[in-house]
Amino acid sequence: MDWSVLGENAGLLAHGLLVTLEVSALALVLALALGVIVASLRVAPSPPLRRVATAYVEVLRNIPLLVQLFFLFFALPSAGIRLDAFLCGVLALGVYTSAFVAEAIRSGIAAVPQGQLEAGLSSGMRYATAMRTIVLPQAVAKTIPPLGNTTLNLIKNSSLVSTVSVLDVLGTANLIGSRTFEYVPMFVGAAICYLILTIPTAFAVNRLEKRYAR
């Protein structure tokens, strides 16, 4: 085992770290946006809308992310839709995670007493206004801890983009490992990169959890 390979390729790994961050950040934005919409539909007054949203969550949660990613990368081109690997990664990761975000928000909304919504509606608010100004702000507090965990999982799941040739942390480590056969140092280096990302996130999640634990 030659650990100097790690030093020689530190720059490439750091670049991979940047790519991992980029994929994670973009996917998180997408997941939050879609998740909020789907969660609102899951508690909507219209049963068909609720059913569509439930199906969305159940389907996405129960199919492996890798299959969804491969679908975008390998199957869509046969339908004439060609997306580059990075975009496939962001889309797959964002859409997959949105199901977990929606679940986290839904359980947060469910924890807000029904009377709050009814009070808003009976004082003449439209459903969307009551949701936005009364229910959602209260739900957010209960949603923060599970959302933190979802974010942590998203960062870890972003490593799957390496399977469609994106050079994130894992992709870079794997590539250099396969060229030099120094897999051990490269994977240890990759592990350190992930710890740099996940440990502070986990720490922040823990603190938020303690603050909102009531």
Partner: protein, 217 residues
């Protein structure tokens, strides 16, 4: 649309074999990670500091890493450390079990901590030994508490088995790739079928979990 290239005996048997390997991987890893997870949880709760420290480091470290990295490590790096060649299936089981055990350990620990202290104290004061209390009182109650989280974790594990496709295990996802890489090169129906199979398996596992919950509560 003619789908006879997909819905014919040999192809379906090929894919069913992949599902078999997927389920085998999941079942073996569930069994190992459950036993290891309980042991790790007990280790973390141990009053012997060095043991609790080592186990905590392992659990927190594993939880901070992507499972795909653990799989790559087990397949490419572990043989270099151990000096033996590992079969992909064995590497897959090692990686999935080592990873899931850390998550199971946290679920078990939360379950054990949720058991009221009075119950264990009552059992101890009746003259039961520490081990008996753990086996007869603490664990059965803890298992009931942690059933939903445990089942969710095993659904995650079943999904994670798909990642072993990248180290060449011929499980469901890998076999799907092989099927659509052949004429007539139509990936969409193949993916639809594979997704449906995973969905059914995971949904079924969740339902079994729900039934277990209802029975144990």
């Amino acid at each position: 649309m003619d789908l006879s290239w997909l819905f014919n005996g040999p192809t379906l048997i090929f894919l069913a074999g992949g599902l078999g390997i997927t389920l085998e991987l999941a079942a073996i890893s569930i069994a190992i990670s459950f036993v290891a997870g309980v042991l790790l949880a007990l280790g973390r709760l141990s009053r012997f500091r060095p043991l609790s420290l080592i186990v905590t480091t392992y659990i927190e470290g594993m939880r901070a890493l992507p499972v795909l990295l653990v799989i790559f490590f087990a397949y490419f790096a572990l043989p270099r450390i151990l000096g033996v060649k590992l079969d992909p299936f064995v590497a897959g089981v090692i990686a999935l079990s080592a990873f899931t055990a850390a998550l199971v350990a946290e679920i078990v620990r939360a379950g054990i901590l949720a058991v009221p202290k009075g119950l264990t104290e009552a059992a101890l004061s009746q003259g039961l030994s520490q081990a008996q209390v753990l086996r007869i009182v603490t664990l059965p109650i803890a298992v009931r508490q942690m059933m939903p989280a445990l089942v969710a974790q095993f659904v995650t594990l079943l999904k994670d088995t798909s990642l072993t496709a990248v180290i060449g295990i011929l499980e469901l996802t890998r076999r799907g790739q092989i099927v659509f890489a052949q004429p007539p090169f139509q990936p969409i129906p193949v993916f639809a079928l594979i997704a449906l199979i995973y969905f059914t398996a995971n949904f079924g596992l969740s339902q079994i979990g729900r039934r277990l919950e209802a029975r144990t509560l």
